[in-house]
Amino acid sequence: MYKPGSDRDQLVISLLTGQFGNNIEQNEISTDMPVIKVKKSAIYDVLLFLHDNAELQYNFLTTLCGMHYPEDSQLGVVYHLHSFVNNHRIRIKTAVNLDNPVLPTATTIWPAANWMERETYDFFGIIFKGHPNLKRILNVDEMVDFPMRKEFPLEDQTREDKDDSMFGR
């Protein structure tokens, strides 16, 4: 069971703020794990530091996924990291502008990021620079949109038998 605000939570935040200063935009201790928001320019260095630092050793990338904030014209990525050695988890967030959604790949740090980044590209259109094989993984190859962006309509657009009054379209 996770208790917020443990020594290790404080240690991670102090090490990161000490090493990266202004590049750490925000940190809070959430109910499940510490959440750290990092500037886009420093994301690769932060992830590498978390992986390589002898005290932290976040050797496992639990998951990685995209986000879309249409009101700020921003896309984002969340990384969930897990240190097996210290039995500790943290969440790293970063944001990119919608007009140039490019982020460095994490596949060189954790090979597990390969398919997750492909999925994030598939659904949000975030381009991971340096990814060995950045192509669609789940959707049909012919698709030109990124369906998890908020403006994309969820319902199938080819149907003619469902009208607005009954199905809320």
Binding site: L138, V140, P147, L154, F167
Partner: protein, 185 residues
């Protein structure tokens, strides 16, 4: 056990014809239809929960073998009946079409469940809104998922079609136009 008699078709009904001592004469159509309808080889294309209902249909309790369809064919080349059971994603559409094309004529298709028939609850960009958008379908079985009795009823409807089909139907103009509509051959 109740004393109600359980009726299972153990012997196929005799078609119309002329019977006398030591002989029975009927039309070729009817004899072939009789043979075909009582020995359908289904190809199960099971993608989700309707496939589980199909497994119950095949198992001892409901026992599709009573209707002559116990021999599943997992090769499209040797099957007569394509049973599509479950949600078909748009990415799966071309695969389903290819399986249908690979089946030898004559062939029939049954769409089991709401998803195969219309996309069901999955009114979404990634799901095919009914398999009749990519291949022609003979019988639709509604339900989410349908009970094995309903699937058996669908099979019986298929048997009715198979038994009464003219031997020349597959060469007819209407049939060729149907295939053309789906861009097959």
């Amino acid at each position: 056990m109740s004393d109600k008699q359980i009726i299972t078709p153990t012997i196929a009904d005799m078609p119309e014809g002329i019977a006398g001592q030591g002989y029975f004469a009927t039309s070729f159509d009817k004899a072939v239809g009789l043979a075909r309808k009582n020995s359908l080889w289904p190809l199960p294309f099971a993608t989700s929960c309707c496939g589980i209902e199909f497994m119950a249909t095949m198992a001892s309790h409901y026992d599709l073998a009573r209707f002559g369809s116990e021999r599943l064919s997992f090769s499209p080349r040797q099957s007569d009946l394509l049973m599509v059971m479950g949600t078909v994603a748009k990415k799966m559409g071309p695969v389903l079409r290819e399986v249908y094309i690979q089946m030898a004529e004559p062939k029939w298709v049954i769409a089991v469940g709401a998803c195969a028939a219309s996309g069901g609850i999955f009114d979404t960009y990634s799901v095919l809104q009914g398999i009749d958008r990519v291949i022609p379908v003979d019988v639709f079985v509604p339900g989410c998922p349908p009970r094995p009795e309903q699937i058996i009823d669908g099979i019986l409807k298929i048997q009715e079609l198979v038994g009464n089909e003219s031997l020349r139907r597959r060469n007819s103009v209407a049939y060729n136009e149907l295939m053309k509509k789906y861009n097959i051959e």
